[in-house]
Subunit: 442 residues, 4 copies
């Protein structure tokens, strides 16, 4: 059996030990020979801690997997079979700025949804496309599993501007399978969920346990859906769910319950305790744990970090590709007519059949107007964000942010944008080098 080379771009991430655990647990099938952890020099210390822990974990498992740490991205990518991207351009420091600028202007600042995710996309897309240039050259047959947020927008940028075989991956779907398997006391394979939408904006339009429809249990309030820990939970208006005719995901609360979430974010903002602040604290603690030379496995504490089952989603996908298993996974892929009311070339998050050579979405068709209106609006925002990021077009960036449902006016969008571009000037060469404003649509 051929042995595999796995590369983790952003290898110094606190999530890496979970990934390592997943690889080790499936090494008998995967036959991984090399794991390359690559990061930027600014993350040298973290990378070193993670690489050391990884080696201790491999050693304990008595496998002969070689773990490499490097700042040479090209070397890490060359001939890789699977490349996982989990980078954070500008680190948590810039995420914190995204949140604070947003909230200061009275709009929700979240890592993926709204002005926060928008700014993260502008910073991140050029870096990801650079990575794709390396992959196209050095590992054209590799599968790229992108976890980097906002995963849907990043994946769309790659689909539109590279030839890399990219799959956008999120831990949101797997959590629904786990939740409902638990609720109905069945195995995950007995749970069928019909998802419609885009990353962090998916609706459940069908839920079947062993072929029996159960969605009404949720819509009638007789059973709970999965709610991510990092999103406030005010519960759902049951009548609203029934007329929606679908189960919204956690990120829908930003749209449907904006007032309450905004209040909570303002409160956190005033106490310097936004999500970025919290995550910074958790990360600091995690790396202290990781440094312990006695530690030889993924510490329990990591589960607090969020991103539950993140590693499981990634490993399961790699297993399905590797074994050509034709399993169904919920992934971010090119639309190409799957959701008829969205353009062909955008990314969507839907059920797909996974084969070694190809990921194929299952046909969705039409969606109800309740879902369609919000979905199309946010997707148009995403398309403009991709264009703005790729072409460094400030005008399109302004249009994107204005279009976002959580940004009430063009003026507010302008003020937020100006402040963010100023703050991120070091991360936005595409906006600085030249001015494309208005080129693309005038």
């Amino acid at each position: 059996m051929r042995s595999l080379k796995l590369t983790v771009v952003g290898g110094g991430s606190s999530y890496t030990p979970e990934l390592l655990e997943g690889i080790i647990n499936n090494q008998n099938v995967l036959n991984v020979s090399e794991i390359w952890l690559v990061d930027v020099e600014e993350g040298k210390e973290k990378l070193s801690i993670i690489a050391d822990l990884s080696k201790r974990m491999v050693k304990k498992a008595k496998y002969s997997i070689k773990v490499f740490e490097t700042f040479d991205r090209k070397e890490a990518i060359k001939d890789a079979d699977y490349i996982i991207t989990q980078i954070r351009v500008g680190q948590l420091t810039m995420r914190r700025h995204d949140e604070y600028i947003s909230i200061k202007h009275g709009v929700i600042g979240q890592e993926t949804t709204g002005a926060g995710g928008f700014m993260k996309a502008l910073r991140t897309i050029p870096v990801l496309l650079d990575i794709c240039r390396d992959i196209e050259e050095l590992a054209p047959n590799a599968w790229l599993l992108n976890f980097t947020n906002p995963a849907g927008i990043i994946t769309e940028a790659i689909l539109k501007h590279s030839h890399v075989k990219v799959i956008g991956l999120c831990n949101n779907p797997i959590n629904y399978y786990k939740k409902f398997a638990n609720t109905y006391n069945v195995g995950v394979d007995d749970v069928s969920i019909h998802f419609t939408g885009i990353n962090h904006l998916i609706w459940i339009t069908g839920l079947y346990i062993k072929g029996q429809s159960k969605i009404h249990d949720i819509l009638m309030g007789q059973s709970d859906s999965y709610e991510a820990k990092n999103i406030p939970d005010f519960g759902w208006d049951i009548e609203f769910l029934q007329s929606l005719g679908a189960v919204p995901c956690g990120y829908h609360k930003y749209y449907y319950q904006t007032d309450r979430i905004l209040d909570e974010q303002l409160e956190e903002y005033q106490h310097n305790e936004t999500r970025a602040d919290k995550v910074q604290k958790i990360e600091k603690e995690l790396f202290e744990v990781y440094q312990n030379p006695e530690l030889q496995e993924k510490p329990k504490a990591l589960e607090q970090r969020g991103g539950a089952y993140y590693s499981e989603a990634a490993i399961n996908l790699i297993l399905s590709i590797h074994r050509n298993s034709r399993d169904v996974h919920t992934l971010n892929v090119q639309n190409n007519g799957t959701i008829k009311c969205l353009p062909d070339d955008v990314s969507i998050e839907v059920n797909c059949v996974v084969e070694s050579h190809q990921i194929t979405p299952l046909q969705v068709g039409d969606v109800s107007p309740q879902i369609r209106g919000l979905l199309q609006n946010v997707k148009a925002y995403e398309e403009l964000t991709v264009d703005a990021a790729v072409y460094g077009d400030k005008g399109l960036a302004h249009q994107a942010l204005t279009l976002h449902p959580l940004v009430p006016t063009a003026e507010r969008a302008k003020n937020i944008l100006d402040e963010m571009l100023q703050m991120n000037t070091n991360f936005l060469p595409q906006f600085n080098e030249h001015s494309h404003e208005g080129d693309n649509y005038l």
Copy 2:
């Protein structure tokens, strides 16, 4: 030449004298023999004043047109050639309630856009569909020109739920032609405007004067677009227009400049001087003028009322149909693939070729994402509003209002909806008779 029967449903409207003037000015072509003014009994006094003035106008013009006033809608509709609907269910009193409830909950309350237009649609659609039942039976070949607001939503309800040959008409487009003809000092026929969108949400994507593109004059701020008098004018951010790549219409301000408009509406609300208050005052004054038995023509004062060129738009359209002229008018018609990103069965407002037997839209094709996102969102809201109004489905009404970009949360939508339904209980038999909640999408 065959003589024509014209019927005005809502004949007691203060606009009618303008329509009369238009007919009289074109009587040599139109050969109208009968004008039927029909209204509800509650409007008896106004109808009587209008009918008397109409007769004096006809007499002065020395035409033999017979003017009828009646409360018998069937008699008025029977064998009519053209039927104009300009009704206001619940009168200005209910419009005032729409505005006050909306603003009280912190959202824009406007007659056509947002929660105000939504409530007006719920009240009005059943009445218009009743009128259509009469037309189907008594004048199946008549053209129905609907001016009743929200004109796009009402027209869509008729297109979806009747066989009447309906055209939705708005005075917004004609004002652009007039404005640009004036700006460039040419005739209206020398002005070509490419409109994309739906009623009260149209973008100008092309402006040509005698075949020369002039849209950049507007986008660069070198020339003004038309701004309706009844919408606050804070000017446009020129850079925003350029990256939009299109000229927004006046009603776009509700979406792009929400904060400022909301501030102004709150101010008016606190002083009991909303638009409904003002219109009530204007109308009172107008009818006093109309009552003057010396008055034999449309008084100048009517022009203050808003609705500029309303009558000219209607008469021009009737002339084009009557003469089978193949002129281009900007009208509300069924989409049927004209704007590719919208469903086939919805109403759109675009350029159309007018023939006696048919109105055919000119192909639009794709629209830019800047336009698309907002357009699709508002259209989905409109579709749900039509369904809610026709089926009396409170759940869909809640979904519709939640989806509207000017209503921030599902909770706010619920509160507004509950209060509005309570206030309008006399006008909503479809919501009272039975409960359809959730039937349509669960």
Copy 3:
């Protein structure tokens, strides 16, 4: 575990023993308690022979499955879990007439493709829709597996005119899997085939063995594709395959190699040895074998009959549904945007994921113009055939046949149609009772 009731409409078919064998081999998973064989009284003798053989087969296998034979269709259908339709309206006698009339007029007469399939559809659709009425009433949750030819057209009629959960099934796809598994010496699960098209007109656009693309082996002539035994095999022009960029199926020869096939059919026709003649002879021999009371299993001779792996396809599908396995099968289902260039409401034959509650096609998207032109033409013919059959509209029947690529002119179509309708008058109540001609499109 719940026990199953299986119903075979057309139970007296010579294929039934193969189906029985499949059930018996999988009884440990399926837990079938009742098999109902239902047929028309004209087929009494055949039904009796088949039922007796079936009982002997069950007995030999020592299972307690009850085998029922009946002419009471409603009783057979009531509460069934799976219903298999394999009827032949008018028996082989009418098939023979289809072939002879076609060839007499110089066009290909084949059971599914061309004028033969057309006539079979007109005879068969009303009967199948009658069966569906029974299923809707007596077994609304049953899955209907339709094998009756022309399977694509019949399935489309059911999809458009009933609420039954129908799946159209053909043995063509499974033969490709078997063939390529054999060629590459791998298991069937290691073979991925991308099919695009409609029943008996599918193109292979991708072939992967364990994730490696192998389609060029076929396109370059280095390896053979599957060729059905009942279609003449003149080989393929390798250059033609390469510019087609896809592997055609056996039935494509009727379109791409019309001259040769027609010559051969004319030869057979002149010697009274068309396919129908041959099948009549084979069937006669088979039933003689079946009558032997010593026979307790499917006889080898059945394999000569054609329809290879027919039973395996059916049983595999039932197993996947029963186990909610999410396996991929190639099935006839509603298009709904899967193949973008075909209407939403037509039947297509593509890869689908099978779950207990639903069959979902995998997205196909665009197809190349080489494939598209023929595919769209034949599909339009099929749509008209369904309409003609359902509404008994002779005019649409004429249009359908004229549109078929194998029928050169409207006049030829007219002559064939007149002769066929005359010959089939006993089987076409819908054409006799009333005349719909031209109603549907004028």
Copy 4:
């Protein structure tokens, strides 16, 4: 008023005098200052005759239009306002070969439909694209009116492979307007015809005289449609027209009455009297007449040539563009969703509104399956023909011809193609220089 420069590429054509007549008759509106007649050196003699006659015609009309004759295409095109292309690559000699090769292989050989039109497209497209390169460089604002056949395919090639403002023009539609105006004794402006289709394959789906539907007069055989003189007329089966629900155009006979037309063509072929033979004779006679120095106007004899109202269609279109009149013309333009069942980037022939800056098709929407099947098949053939001609891809050429409804098999297509490519080797640099076979779809 600005004066115009008109350029006629293929100025030596026998049609040019008709065009001259049209210009002269409208010179008061058009204000043409220069007419450039450009041709290839092989056509020197004809060009000279036409230029001399043109000058005599202008002189007689006492206008100061300058007539230039040249072989310098770039000089002729530079700064032109309108460019008319009416070239015949390979002259009538090659047309004759197209016809003879086709008929020899038993298929219809017609200048635009079938194998004849196919070969003409392969020869002509590269030349037209060369002309477009000149226009893009030297007259980027010019309108290109293409009359060169097969006009739909040529126009599609230009739409796909150049930025020239091209309009494909055919005299077929204007003849219908003339015919029906005559039938109903009304002016052409009182006739509305709804056309659906592509060049030489248009169906009339609506006919209105002063707004009254009259299509049933034709469908019921109470009135004749227009039948071009150069296509055999065997009459239409009235029942066929009724179930078609639309009036076919003359070129439909090649598809619906193939047998009869083929018989007639075989007869002509055997007597060396195909259409090319006849046209060669007519042309010879015409140029003899043209040479007469006494001749100062378009001779009556030209009307025999076919192409009735060809000049009127061109001049009317130029007048509408020049005056920005918003008239409706039936033209070949890019589809872009107008006919929903065809791809966006193909050419279609439909009603359009003509403005100085833009030609906009009127929305058509869905078409009936009777029309759709043939339309889509022929369009796919046209798309492949364009690709084959542009890329010099013999494999795609084979696919195109195989797909054509008038070519029965892939083998026949291969034989015709081989013989045609051999015969046209001097006109097909794109096929000779390099081999692209299979590049585009494999």
